[in-house]
């Protein structure tokens, strides 16, 4: 149980590296989810984040996808959370693009 991974409503996943969470002093993700987030789906269990609801309930929409857990973890935690939000049609568009988007230029 080193990783907590679950699916979310819009199509995508939230992956939490619990090994990193063990040494996290803030547990900022749980705090955010329960104070600013509307879903309040995370809780602390044995010192690491856990889901309050079943993965099915979370996928059905209990997670409100405010992205706060990941960003708070980046700011105040251990960089343990990765939210993946695929958009395959955009990837296809970018593959066929002859001119690079501006964010790929001059960096």
């Amino acid at each position: 149980m080193e990783v907590l991974e679950f699916e979310i409503r819009s199509g995508g996943t939230i992956r939490i590296d619990l090994e990193k969470c063990e040494t996290c002093e803030t547990k900022a993700c749980v705090k955010h989810c329960n104070t600013q987030g509307m879903g309040q789906i995370l809780e602390l269990k044995d010192g690491v984040p856990a889901l309050k609801y079943t993965p099915e309930e979370v996928k059905r929409g209990a997670c409100t996808e405010d992205l706060g857990c990941e960003l708070e973890c980046e700011l105040r935690g251990n960089h343990a959370i990765v939210i993946t939000l695929p958009l395959p049609e955009l990837d296809e568009y970018l593959r066929d693009l002859s001119e690079k988007p501006t964010y790929l230029r001059g960096q």
Binding site: I8, R9, S10, G11, G12, Q36, M38, G61, T64, E65, D66, L67, G68, E70, L71, E74, L75, I83, L85, L87, P88, E89, L90, E92, Y93, L94, D96, L97, E99, K100, P101, T102, Y103, R105, G106, Q107
Partner: protein, 423 residues
Amino acid sequence: MARLLEHQGKALFKQKGIPIPEGRLVGSVAEARTVADELGFPVAIKAQVLSGRRGKAGGILFADDEDSLLKGIKELLGKEIQGSAVDRLLVEEKEEVQREWYMAVTADPSTRQPVGIFSSRGGVDIEQTAESEPASIVTAPIDISEGLHHYDAMDLLRQVGDLDSRQMLVLANVFTRLYQVYREYDCKLAEINPLALVEQGAIALDARVDIDDDAASRQTTLDIDFAEEAGDRAATLLEIAAATIDEHDHRGTVHFVQTDLDASYARGSGMVPVGLDAIGAGTGLTIMDELVPLGYYPINFCDTSGNPVGSKFYRITKVILAQPQIEGYLFVSCVSSQQLDNAARGVIKAFKELYPGTAGQPNIPCIVLFRGGWDDVAVDLFREHGISEGRWIKVLGRDTMERELAEIFDSLYRDWKRETGGL
């Protein structure tokens, strides 16, 4: 609005008993040869694109023999008509036309009911006829609880004045069937132009059927994969990508359309192409009104409303910034009741992913403006994540009005252009 291709519209007409020319859909020279064997000559070869000015753009050809058929197929396949690539052609029998009319059923927003429209001038844009010969157009409202009966259609056609009794009977029959198409398929518009008089009666030579996008989900037999308004062209892959954002998640909405696909209008008008995301469609229009006089043209329109979840903002920000022509980006909220910190997180996550080398600080001029619920939190988030410190971004709060925003963007763009030379 989901617009059907001609052959799809004609299939609905046929189903309801409206006569159409015998035809087949082809995608290659070999298929066309087979169809010609079945239909004989002469035939019409018609590009299957959504453009309303297809004929004028050279998308309709005629062939009297196999040589001209093959030449026509080769000419049209792969051709681009008003931004849409032609990959399917409708080959159908060419009719001996004695006369052309216009017939339609559409929604009348002023009366909030359907209206039947008929004109004795077919084969030209109805808007053009309305200007040049308004007297040739007759209309009648249709009571949706009653439907369009044969005698209603006859009453309407009687106003035309130059139809004989046989023609009126035939046309009334077509009218009632066209109304059936309109109702059964939740149309905004069911149009036949031209509706041709031929020896056997009346026949629909073209079909325009626009489905109400709000009803697209229940029109499961129509194979509609894109229901956003894209005008007189097929949806682009980027628009389709944006449309999928709402596909499985109805918590808030994202509406995105490319208004200047290759930025040729912006550049041709001496303006700088920019990307735009507005919370509130009215805000989008207002900010355009302020940007355009200063020389900036949003090449997309985007409205993210109904309190979308943060993940939707993340995805649509990536879509907008994927337009390679943009030399600036603006995110502007109205005084919104939405939870703007969610919006901010979506934009921040996208920026961090797209600009990893600068921890999310963009390399083109960007303005983000938050006004409304949790706007202070949204502004703070950009500061906390170090993005506000970026040279080419301004994060603004509730005290900023549209004109001021446009002026700040103008100043930022000029500095960027002067210091970097642009991209």
